[in-house]
Amino acid sequence: MAEGCNLHLTLSDVNKVETARNIGEKVDAQNISRELLKCSLKNNSQEIMRVLNDKNHPAYKTAKELLIKALGEGRVTKEEANKLSDALYLILKDHPNPQGLFEKPPVHRGPGSDPMSHPYELLCTAALIQKEVTTSLGNSLKIYSTDRIDFGEKFASSYALSTKKKNTGESDILIGRGAKEIGIDAKYTKGSIYGVKPDLLGQLDKIRSAFSDDQLHEFYFVTNAQFHSDFKEMVDNANAKIIQDCAKENNRIYKDFKDITKVEKEKVDVLEMIRNLDFHNDRKQINKLTQKHDIPQIGICERVNFEG
C-alpha cells in the first residue's frame, strides 16, 4: 500500500484546493505543442514536411496551430505568425535535425538551456537562409545549406571555483561553419526601434568572455526593426574592449594600431585611443586591424525579416 503523509488542513489550504481543482485552466499548451512537434519530427518527418509545404493539405492548419503554440502565441504579428510554417519548412529542408528547436539542447552545451521560445528566432533563421544581409562590420551574414544550425545553446562566460555562480551566455542561433562558431541573438520588437534592455551590458561581457576563450568566433545582434543608438553605442564600447583585450596580449597590435591611425609613436595612450575609436567612420581601418590579428567583433544586422 502507498504510504502517504498526513497534514492538518488549514483554511488557506481549502482555498488552494479550490484553485487546484481548476488545473485545466493552467495546462501548459506550449510544452505540449513542443512535445508533439518534437515527436512528429522524430517519427514522421517526411509527412510533416509534406504538410508544411502544402497549404491545401487538410492537416496544414493543425501543424501551423501547433507551431504557433509551441513558440508562444501573440508574440509576433498575425502576418508574421502565418509565415512560421514556411520558415520551419525552409529551415528543415537543409537542416533536418537542429538541436534546441523543440527540445532542450543537450546538457553538455550548458545547464538550464531551453528550447526555442520566440517565433522571431525561427523567422530570423529562415530570413538568413533566404537572403544575405550586410552587417555593421561590413561583412555579409547568411546561413548556407552546408552550415550546421542549433538553437538556444549556452556558452560558459566565467569559470568560478564556486559552483554557486556559473554564469553562462546564450546564442539564440548558433551557426557551425567548419571549426568556426557564429552566434546570433535575435531581438524582436513590434515597434520600429529596439531599445536597450537592462541585461545588455552583462550579455556583452559574456560574449567578450566567449570570444577570449575561443568558444565563439563571430557574434551578431539581429533585429526585425532598427537598434536604438544607445544599443549601438554599447556594442561599439564592447568591441573597443575586445580590441583592448587583444592588445594587452599582443603588442604587435599597438604598433599596427599606430601605423593605421598614423599617430606619433611615444606620445599617445593606445588603450585610451582604442576606447575612443569611432566605429562608424573608422570601420574600414578597424577592420584592417581586426582582420590582420584575427580579433573577433560583435556585429549588428537590422531589418532582417523573412519574406515568406
Binding site: 502517504g4 498526513n6 481543482r21 514522421n44
Partner: protein
C-alpha cells in the same frame, strides 16, 4: 452542436460514440478539474480535431481510431473508437514521446464522466462542510508557516486532516475525540486513490489514520458520524459514508448500528485487524493474550500500523516469545536484566529476518517483493523475483529463483561457547522441514565470524545437512540497539 459534431466526424473520418456526443451536448469542459476537448477550444487551447491530428503526426504507427480528448504533460487521454459498444468506448492513455503500447485504463468514457460527476458532488459537499467548520469557528486557527509552529489541537478539538500520496490528496477527514461517548466523532470522510497504486489504498490509509487516532486518544474505538444542523444549531447524527460502509462489507464485518451512523468498538477493532493484515490465527493468538489481559488486539494493530514492528516480526514474536508484550510493547526494562536480555534475543531474531527479506527485495539482480509465512520458529520466505544472496559462508552467491521457497531459522547470537552443540540444537526445529525444502538457512549475526573455525563448521553443516549458514552484516550489538529503540518507543503506548 449536432452539425458541428457531424462536421467533426467527417473531418476525422470517425464515428463518435454516443457517450462523448452527450458530453459535448451538455457543453461541459472540465472533468476532475482537467479539460476534455470539444469541437471548439473553450479556452483550453486545443480542439478534439487538432489534438487527434497532432497525435497522428506524433505517433504515426498507431491506428487512426484514437480520439484525443486531453493532453496532460506527455500523455494523451484517448477514446478507442475501434471498440465502441452500446454507445460507449474504452479510455486509453498514450505516451506521446515513446513507442510504448497504449495503456488500458479499464474504464469507459461514459463511466469516467459519471464517476467524476459523483466524485465532484461528494468533494463539493466535503469542502462545504469543511468551510462550515471553519466558519463556525469549531476549528482552532492554525497556519503551517506560523512562527509558533505548535499544533494547537487537543484530542477533543475538531481537526481536518488531508492524507496525501506524492502530493496527490487521497483523503480528507474532519474528526475529534468525543469525551461524552469516549470515541471518535467524524464529520467528513472522503477518500480516493492515487492512480499509480492499487485500488482502494486511499480509503485504507485514511481509515487506518482514523482508527489509530481513535486508539491513541480513547479507551473505546467507537465511531460516530455526525453533521452540523443549521436549523437546530446542534450536531445531529449522519449516515456512514458509502465508501466507509463498503470497506466493512468487503472485510466481512457487519455493522449493527449503521442506521444511527455508529460503528461499535468491536466492529472498528475487527476492521483495524483486517486492514493491518492480521490473519485469523494471529487474531486468535492475540485474543488468548487479551483474555489474560497482557495485550490487546487494537494495541498490536496500532504498533503495526505505526510501523514500530512489521507484521511478520510481530507474528513471529507472538507465536514464539514467552512474553510478547515485553518485546512488542517494550514492557521488559533493562533493570530486569534476565527478562530484558531474553526479550532482546527474540526481538533481534525477528529483526534479522526482516533484514534478510530487505536484502532479497533489493537484490542486485532484481528488485521486488517477498512474502513470508511462519511455521513454529521457522520463516518460510518466497521471493517473487530472481534474487542473489551473498551472505553465505560456503557459497559466494546463493541464487534464489522466482517463486522459490527458502526456510530460515534466525539465531543472531553473541556467544558461541560450544558451537557444534549450538548448531545441533538450532537444527532441531528444521529437521521436519528438511525433506521438502531445497534451500534451508541458519541465520547468524556477524559475531559468528569471530569463532576460530567458523568456515570449517559451516562447510560441515552444509555437507552433512545441506544447510547454508548465512551471516548478517550486522553485529548482535547493532541489532540489539535497533530492538532497544523500538522497545523504548513502544513503551509509551498502552497495551
Amino acid at each position: 452542436m449536432t452539425d458541428q459534431i457531424k462536421s467533426l466526424e467527417n473531418q476525422l473520418g470517425l464515428s463518435l460514440p454516443e457517450s462523448y456526443k452527450r458530453f459535448l451536448e451538455e457543453d461541459r469542459a472540465l472533468i476532475n478539474g482537467l479539460p476534455i476537448y470539444g469541437v471548439s477550444t473553450n479556452n483550453y487551447d486545443y480542439t478534439v480535431f487538432t489534438s487527434t491530428q497532432a497525435l497522428r503526426f506524433a505517433r504515426p504507427e498507431l491506428p487512426e481510431t484514437y480520439l484525443v480528448v486531453r493532453f496532460l504533460e506527455n500523455q494523451a487521454l484517448c477514446l478507442d473508437l475501434n471498440r465502441v459498444s452500446n454507445g460507449d468506448c474504452p479510455l486509453i492513455e498514450i505516451e506521446i514521446d515513446s513507442h510504448e503500447n497504449p495503456k488500458e485504463l479499464g474504464i469507459s468514457f461514459g463511466q469516467y464522466v459519471e464517476m467524476a460527476s459523483q466524485g465532484e458532488v461528494e468533494i463539493n459537499r466535503a469542502l462545504r462542510r469543511i468551510s462550515n467548520l471553519f466558519k463556525s469557528r469549531e476549528i482552532k486557527s492554525y497556519e503551517h508557516n506560523a512562527k509558533n509552529n505548535k499544533v494547537p489541537f487537543k484530542a477533543r478539538d475538531w481537526k481536518v486532516i488531508r492524507s496525501c500520496v506524492h502530493d496527490y490528496v487521497t483523503g480528507l477527514s474532519a474528526f475529534r475525540h468525543n469525551e461524552q461517548f469516549n470515541g471518535l466523532e467524524v464529520d467528513i470522510f472522503i477518500a480516493t486513490d492515487h492512480p499509480d497504486y492499487e485500488p482502494g489504498h486511499g480509503i485504507k490509509a485514511l481509515t487506518l489514520l482514523l482508527l489509530s487516532d481513535a486508539y491513541k486518544n480513547g479507551a473505546s474505538m467507537e465511531f460516530r458520524f455526525t453533521r452540523y444542523d443549521h436549523n437546530s444549531q446542534t450536531r445531529v447524527k449522519d449516515r456512514i459514508p458509502h465508501q466507509f460502509a463498503n470497506l466493512f462489507n468487503e472485510k466481512g464485518v457487519t455493522l449493527s448500528k449503521k442506521e444511527q451512523g455508529i460503528i461499535t468498538h468491536f466492529e472498528a477493532v475487527s476492521l483495524y485487524a483486517h486492514l493491518v493484515g492480521l490473519t485469523t490465527d494471529v487474531i486468535a493468538k492475540i485474543k488468548e493474550y487479551q483474555n489474560e489481559e497482557r495485550l490487546s488486539l487494537q494495541g498490536v494493530c496500532f504498533l503495526i500500523s505505526s510501523r514500530l514492528w512489521a507484521i511478520d516480526e510481530a507474528k513471529w514474536i507472538l507465536f514464539n516469545a514467552p512474553r510478547p508484550e515485553g518485546i512488542l510493547f517494550g514492557r521488559d526494562v533493562p533493570e530486569d536484566r534476565l527478562k530484558y536480555e531474553e526479550s532482546l534475543s527474540f526481538g533481534r531474531a525477528a529483526l534479522a529476518v526482516s533484514k534478510l527479506r530487505h536484502k532479497l527485495e533489493n537484490s542486485i539482480v532484481n528488485e521486488g517483493d517477498t512474502t513470508a509465512q511462519i511455521e513454529n520458529q521457522l520463516f518460510h520466505i518466497i521471493s517473487h523475483h530472481p534474487a542473489e544472496l551473498d551472505w553465505s559462508i560456503t557459497t559466494p552467491n546463493v541464487q534464489i529463483n522466482e517463486g522459490e521457497e527458502i526456510i530460515v531459522l534466525s539465531r543472531p547470537r553473541r556467544f558461541f561457547p560450544n558451537l557444534s552443540q549450538l548448531i545441533e540444537d538450532d537444527l532441531k526445529p528444521m529437521l521436519s522441514s528438511l525433506k521438502n525444502a531445497n534451500k534451508i538457512f541458519l541465520l547468524y549475526s556477524e559475531d559468528f565470524m569471530e569463532v576460530k573455525n567458523y568456515k570449517e563448521l559451516a562447510q560441515e553443516v552444509k555437507k552433512q545437512k545441506n544447510i547454508e549458514i548465512l551471516v548478517l552484516p550486522f553485529t548482535t550489538n547493532e541489532l540489539d540497539g535497533e530492538v532497544n529503540i523500538r522497545m523504548r518507543k513502544a513503551k509509551v503506548i498502552r497495551t
